[in-house]
Symmetry: C2
Subunit: 288 residues, 2 copies
């Protein structure tokens, strides 16, 4: 049994080298089937996450439909699951892991996702993000914004960079008391630390996915949101920011759910697909 | 009459230098008041936009409530307007003009928004974006994705950059037939043109705003979407991409509306606020 892009890409080689018959199954179908199995059957599998309270497990349960699956890889797919084997892709966004990885590899020189997350961990997004307080000097509470809300991701960069360049052109750079780099690059170009950039972009991508997921739930009347995909896999910061985002946008009404065996959904689903009909824990309990 | 951040920032100077009394009005209230006035009263004001059919004017009309105002400056505010002087900020996103300007000033060296748009105009986003066809080789029509849909903004960058670096380390860079730069930088670092990066990010930001605006309309049952703010002002490409995004996400059911005098909403609103009650075109027609 095989699924995913590799099931097609390596089909001939698997058959030839391993000398086996290869049965290819649809990726999304397998993913959902595996997910359903894990959610409904496996104890200590589904959990919520926060920095202060990491990995709080939920009991497995059968009354889960309809729910939203948010699968975050390079891009993001949002899938409404209304019953066992009944699902529909209702949306997604092109701003996903690939966007974060791509932009950060250009901006910071980081070469792995782990390097990027380690940087983000040390960064301060308020050095590059424009907060509501930066614009109004205070809360704009009349329209429900607190001063620490991010008004514009990277909103400080353009203005500060332009100011730095203008200063350099005017010769002000010589008199402003800042140390100059030995390699001759102006201080303005060094003003934005890779750590701060990383944290800002991690927040931007996570918050955005959180908001869209929340709005899709509202539109389609979905109660629970499960997250999966390589953006999540084992990365505490992405779980933390996504959990925060869902809580923020839903005003505390919704939670983000994660799975321990999230990396195996597709393969478990493909495996399950070929089992006899009455196989599985669920059916082993059914007596009438 | 004054409104906006400047009404507070320059309050003392205006009073002192101009020797006048300065009346400060709430920014959002003035903006909505001006917008309402333009939409309901002024002919040849509201228009839809597309590359093939630029500036199609709509008739002014009174039955517009409730509608959505999407104000795109550094950040994005989404405001539900349910009646004259009745409005509520229902959401927004920190991914706005400031994000585009900030990231592009870091990535491309462009120094003005016009430079960025001129670059975007010449660029090809498929050089940096990962399309559905890049992943599956074809449409993934089972879940409603065509091969030209953007699956991941900047999704090609991380992979290609890593490949380039691995090649350079392995010495493959010397044998792959590509010309090397005289300054010694490897070709992999030059692989992403500022034009392509600009177009990709313009698409990403516009599509994202379009999707969130559409979902907010669904949640709040709003029919029409008006766009304003400095991201829009006179920039044909941003009107074009936003119009496309609204059409795309709503499956052709919704249109993006723009205003000719969009840059004057706040000041016209502040002006109107101090008029006698029965001033204005609307009231001048009311006879009983």
């Amino acid at each position: 049994m095989a699924t995913g892009g590799g099931a097609y890409k390596y089909y001939d080689e698997m058959k030839r080298i391993l000398g086996v018959e290869v049965l290819r199954e649809d990726e999304m179908e397998c993913l959902i089937m595996g997910l359903d199995f894990f959610i409904t059957e496996i104890p200590r599998e589904v959990f919520t996450y926060s920095e202060t309270d990491p990995m709080q497990f939920e009991e497995p349960r059968a009354d889960i439909y309809p729910y939203l699956l948010v699968n975050i890889g390079s891009g993001v797919s949002m899938v409404k699951v209304s019953g066992s084997k009944k699902f529909e892709r209702i949306g997604g966004t092109s701003l996903g892991g690939g966007t974060l990885w791509g932009l950060l590899s250009l901006l910071t020189g980081a070469r792995t996702f782990d390097e990027m997350l380690a940087m983000a961990d040390k960064g301060d997004n308020t050095a590059v993000d424009m907060l509501v307080g930066d614009i109004y000097g205070t809360d704009y509470s009349k329209i429900g914004l607190t001063s620490t809300t991010i008004a514009s991701s990277f909103g400080k960069v353009f203005k500060m960079k332009r100011q730095g360049e203008t200063d350099a052109e005017d010769g002000n750079g010589m008199h402003n008391g800042e140390a100059h780099e030995a390699d001759g690059s102006s201080s303005s170009e060094r003003a934005f630390a890779p750590e701060d950039i990383s944290r800002s972009l991690l927040y931007a991508v996570s918050n955005n996915i959180g908001q869209i997921a929340y709005l899709q739930c509202e539109k389609h009347h979905l109660e629970r949101i499960y997250f999966g995909g390589s953006f999540i896999r084992g990365h505490q910061q992405t779980m933390n920011t996504l959990s925060f985002a869902i809580k923020f946008w839903s005003k505390g009404e919704k939670k983000a759910y994660f799975l321990r065996h999230e990396g195996y959904l597709g393969s478990v689903g493909a495996f399950l697909k070929r089992q006899p009909k009455n196989w599985g824990r669920r059916n082993s309990f059914e007596e009438g």
